[in-house]
C-alpha cells in the first residue's frame, strides 16, 4: 500500500516516491476501459476528484466523474490537469484492434494522442505524480520463434508487422522516454492480453460469437486471455498502490484454441489456409470473418505471457483464462434471449449538469456537491 503523502506544491523529488492518489484524470473516458475504470474509481471515497476527458460523449452512466469533452490537444488537457490539481493520470485510450477504427485515426490516437497526453503531464510545475498507461500485448507481436511466455523485459524479436503493432511500440517508447525525463513521476505500463468477457467487444469475442469458429488448418495456437473485470481491477491497482514499472496483464493458464472452442461449446472450422492467411484476411473480412491483421499470426503461433510480476505486487486475478472463456460462453448462450432488452445509456449534458450542480438534487449526507 502507499505510504507517501501528496505534496502537490511542485516538490520534485529525485525518484518517484509512493504517492497517494487523490485526484485522477482518466483519458479516453468514453471508451470501454475508461468508462469502466471511472466507474470503479467512484466507489473509492478516498479519491476526491475524477475527471474524464474524451472527444466523444461517455457511454456509461457515471455519478461523480466530471466529463470534459476535449480531443487530444495537450494544451487543453494540461490546463485541466493544472486547474484541478490532478495528481494521477490514467491513459486508457489505446486502440488495440485495427478493425475498431480507421488506420489513420488509430495512429492519430495511439501515437500522437499518447504524445499529447504525456506532454500535458510533463511541464516542470505539473501536479502529476503518477501515470498509468494501458498498453497491449500486441507490443510483443507474434512470431514463429517467440518464447512461450513473454516476460516484461523482453523486447519483440522482430520489427512490427502491422501498423497497429508499430503504433503501440511507438506509444510505449514515448512513455518510456517520459519515464526517463520525469523520475519523480511513478509510471506504470500495463500490457494486456486478449480480453474476453460478457460485456466487452474484442476481436476474439467477435470471432467466438460466430456459429463456427474459424481456425488455421494444421494449427492449434496457445491463447491466453484476461477477463474484462480483471483488466478494470488491474487498471485500478496502480492507482491505489505504488507499482512503478511495466506489467503483463494476463490471467493464469494458456489454453489451446481448440480447448477454448470446446469450453464455449462451439465447433471449430479449420478452413483458413496455413499459407497466405494474411493475404486472405481482407477478402475474409468481407465474408464476415472479421479478423484484424494483428490477430492473423496469433491464429497460427499463439502467444503466452508471464503474469508473475503483477501478481508479485499483490494483485490477484479473479478469473483464469479458462474461467474467462466459460464466462464468455455463458454470455453467448444467453445473448439471443436478452438481445434488445438492455436500456442503452445516452449522455445528456444538461441532465448530467443538473445532477451534479443543482442544489435541488438530494444527495446522501456525506456527499458534498462536486465542483469547486
Amino acid at each position: 500500500m502507499s505510504v507517501g503523502e501528496a505534496t502537490g506544491e511542485g516538490a520534485v523529488a529525485a525518484t518517484a516516491t509512493p504517492h497517494r492518489t487523490r485526484r485522477v484524470l482518466v483519458t479516453g473516458v468514453s471508451t470501454y476501459w475508461g468508462g469502466r475504470l471511472a466507474e470503479a474509481l467512484e466507489s473509492h471515497p478516498e479519491i476526491d476528484a475524477i475527471v474524464g476527458v474524451d472527444s466523444d460523449e461517455p457511454t456509461r452512466e457515471l455519478h461523480r466523474t466530471e466529463f470534459v469533452k476535449v480531443g487530444n490537444q495537450h494544451s487543453l488537457i494540461e490546463r485541466i490537469v493544472k486547474a484541478a490539481e490532478l495528481d494521477t493520470v490514467v491513459d486508457a485510450r489505446l486502440v488495440v484492434n485495427s478493425l475498431m477504427s480507421a488506420p489513420r485515426a488509430a495512429h492519430e490516437n495511439n501515437v500522437i494522442g499518447t504524445m499529447n497526453v504525456l506532454a500535458a503531464c510533463a511541464g516542470p510545475d505539473s501536479p502529476v505524480r503518477k501515470l498509468v498507461f494501458k498498453s497491449s500485448a500486441h507490443y510483443y507481436g507474434c512470431e514463429q520463434d517467440d518464447p512461450a511466455f513473454f516476460t516484461e523485459e523482453m523486447r519483440r524479436p522482430h520489427a512490427p508487422r502491422t501498423a497497429l503493432e508499430r503504433d503501440i511500440v511507438d506509444a510505449e517508447e514515448s512513455v518510456s522516454e517520459f519515464t526517463d525525463k520525469r523520475p519523480d513521476v511513478t509510471v506504470t505500463v500495463l500490457r494486456c492480453a486478449n480480453v474476453l468477457g460478457p460485456d466487452v467487444a474484442t476481436a476474439f469475442t467477435r470471432m467466438f460469437a460466430l456459429p463456427l469458429v474459424p481456425m488455421v488448418l494444421g494449427f492449434d495456437p496457445r491463447c491466453q486471455f484476461v477477463h474484462e473485470d480483471d483488466v478494470v481491477r488491474a487498471l485500478e491497482h496502480p492507482v491505489l498502490n505504488h507499482t512503478p514499472g511495466t506489467y503483463n496483464v494476463a490471467a493464469d493458464g494458456v489454453l489451446a484454441l481448440s480447448e477454448v472452442i470446446g469450453l464455449l461449446g462451439k465447433r471449430p472450422l479449420p478452413v483458413l489456409p496455413p499459407w497466405g492467411t494474411g493475404a486472405l484476411a481482407a477478402p475474409l473480412r468481407r465474408l464476415g470473418f472479421r479478423i484484424p491483421d494483428e490477430m492473423v499470426n496469433q491464429l497460427r503461433f499463439g502467444r503466452g505471457l508471464d503474469n508473475r510480476r503483477l501478481r508479485a505486487t499483490g494483485f490477484r486475478y479473479e478469473y483464469t483464462s479458462r474461467e474467462a472463456a466459460i464466462s464468455l460462453g455463458e454470455h453467448l448462450r444467453l445473448d439471443p434471449v436478452l438481445r434488445g432488452h438492455e436500456p442503452a445509456y445516452t449522455y445528456e449534458k444538461e441532465v448530467e449538469e443538473f445532477l451534479r450542480r443543482s442544489p435541488h438534487v438530494r444527495r446522501p449526507e456525506h456527499e458534498e456537491p462536486l465542483g469547486f
Binding site: G218, D220, R222, R300, R308
Partner: protein, 301 residues
C-alpha cells in the same frame, strides 16, 4: 522459413527497459507465483495434452518401444528424481525416434517418472500439422527462455540434442559420430537454471532410419527442414517418414554433471562452459563407442 536457430546459447533479451525498474523476481518467489494447475484441464500451459499424449503412448509409442525396437535401458537411476535436469543426447534419424523412446523409457523405468519436455526447432511451430501436434506430445520450441522457465522455475526434465539439425542430417556412413555440440549453449542454459546435466546415449536409432542421401532441391521445394532418402522415404510418401526398421535400441543414462561450479547468471566462465561441453560430448561418444562395440547384431543386440 525456418529460423536458423538450434542453439540454446542465445541469452533471452534482457535489455532492461526504461521504466521496468522492478528487479527480476527471486527464484523462490517466482516459483511460488507460477500459475496453479487447474484440475479440470487436460492441456498444460505449454500445450501438452494428456489425452493426445496418452493415446499415442498406449498405442504407437508402446508398440515401438516394446516390440519393434525392444528397448533396453541402463542406468535409469542416474536420472535425477527431482529438480531441473537437462538431458543431453545424441541425435539421428530423419524423423528421430530417439526423443520419444527416451521419454517412454523414463515413464516405464524410472521410479519417480516425470514428464520429459523435448526441445524442437522453431520450424515445427510454423509448419501446418506439426504445429498442432508437436506441443501436444510434449515438445517445446528450443528458445532459451523456454528452457530456462522449464528448468529453473518449473524444475522439470528437458531433453536437448546439442547436435541439432546437423545430427539428423547426417547420412548412414557417419553413424554414431557425434557432430559439434553447438557453442556449448546447453551447458550455459543448465548452469543459469541451476540444473543438472544428464547425458543420455541412444544406440539403434541410426539403423532404424538410415539416411542414404539428402536432396537439397527437394528440401527447398517442400519447405521442409531437410529432404532425406531413406529405405522408405520418399517412396512410401509421408508414411515413409514414420516407417522404422526394427533395430534393437539401447538407452544408457550417464551420471549427471553438476553445473553449480560454473557459477550462475552473469558470472559464467565461458572457458569452463566450453570445457564442460566438450567433456559431455566426449563422455557420450565414449559410451556410444562402447555400446556399439558390445553389440553383436544391429537387429538382435
Amino acid at each position: 522459413m525456418a529460423p536458423d536457430r538450434t542453439s540454446l546459447a542465445g541469452t533471452p533479451d534482457t535489455t532492461p527497459e526504461a521504466g521496468g525498474g522492478v528487479p527480476a523476481l527471486p527464484g523462490e518467489r517466482a516459483r511460488d507465483l507460477l500459475p496453479a494447475i487447474e484440475p479440470e484441464r487436460t492441456i498444460t500451459d505449454w500445450g501438452r495434452s494428456e489425452r493426445v499424449e496418452g493415446m499415442l503412448d498406449r498405442t504407437l509409442v508402446d508398440f515401438f518401444y516394446r516390440y519393434w525396437f525392444r528397448c533396453d535401458v541402463e542406468g535409469i537411476e542416474n536420472l535425477p528424481a527431482e529438480g531441473g535436469a537437462l538431458l543431453v543426447s545424441n541425435h539421428s534419424g530423419a524423423l528421430p525416434p530417439d526423443a520419444a523412446v527416451i521419454s517412454k523409457a523414463i515413464r516405464e523405468e524410472h521410479p519417480r517418472a516425470r514428464p520429459l519436455h523435448i526441445t524442437v526447432e522453431h520450424f515445427f511451430k510454423g509448419y501446418p500439422g506439426f504445429s498442432a501436434l508437436i506441443p501436444k506430445i510434449g515438445c517445446v520450441p528450443a528458445h532459451p527462455a523456454n528452457v530456462h522457465r522449464l528448468l529453473y522455475d518449473e524444475r522439470q526434465l528437458v531433453l536437448v540434442f546439442p547436435e541439432g539439425r546437423k545430427g539428423t542430417e547426417k547420412t548412414y556412413s557417419e553413424r554414431y559420430k557425434l557432430r559439434r555440440f553447438g557453442r556449448g549453449g546447453f551447458v550455459e542454459a543448465a548452469a543459469r537454471a541451476e540444473a543438472k546435466l544428464s547425458p543420455v546415449c541412444v544406440v539403434g536409432a541410426e539403423e532404424a532410419m538410415p539416411i542414404f542421401a539428402q536432396l537439397n532441391v527437394l528440401k527447398r521445394l517442400t519447405g521442409l527442414l531437410y529432404f532425406p532418402i531413406t529405405p522408405t522415404f520418399p517412396w512410401l510418401g509421408p508414411v515413409g517418414m514414420f516407417t522404422y526398421l526394427p533395430a534393437k535400441f539401447r538407452i544408457r543414462f550417464l551420471e549427471p554433471i553438476d553445473t553449480a561450479a560454473l557459477g550462475d547468471g552473469e558470472g559464467l566462465d565461458t572457458a569452463q562452459v566450453q570445457t564442460v561441453a566438450h567433456e559431455v560430448r566426449a563422455r557420450i561418444q565414449e559410451n556410444l563407442d562402447e555400446m556399439v562395440a558390445a553389440r553383436h547384431s544391429v537387429w538382435f543386440g
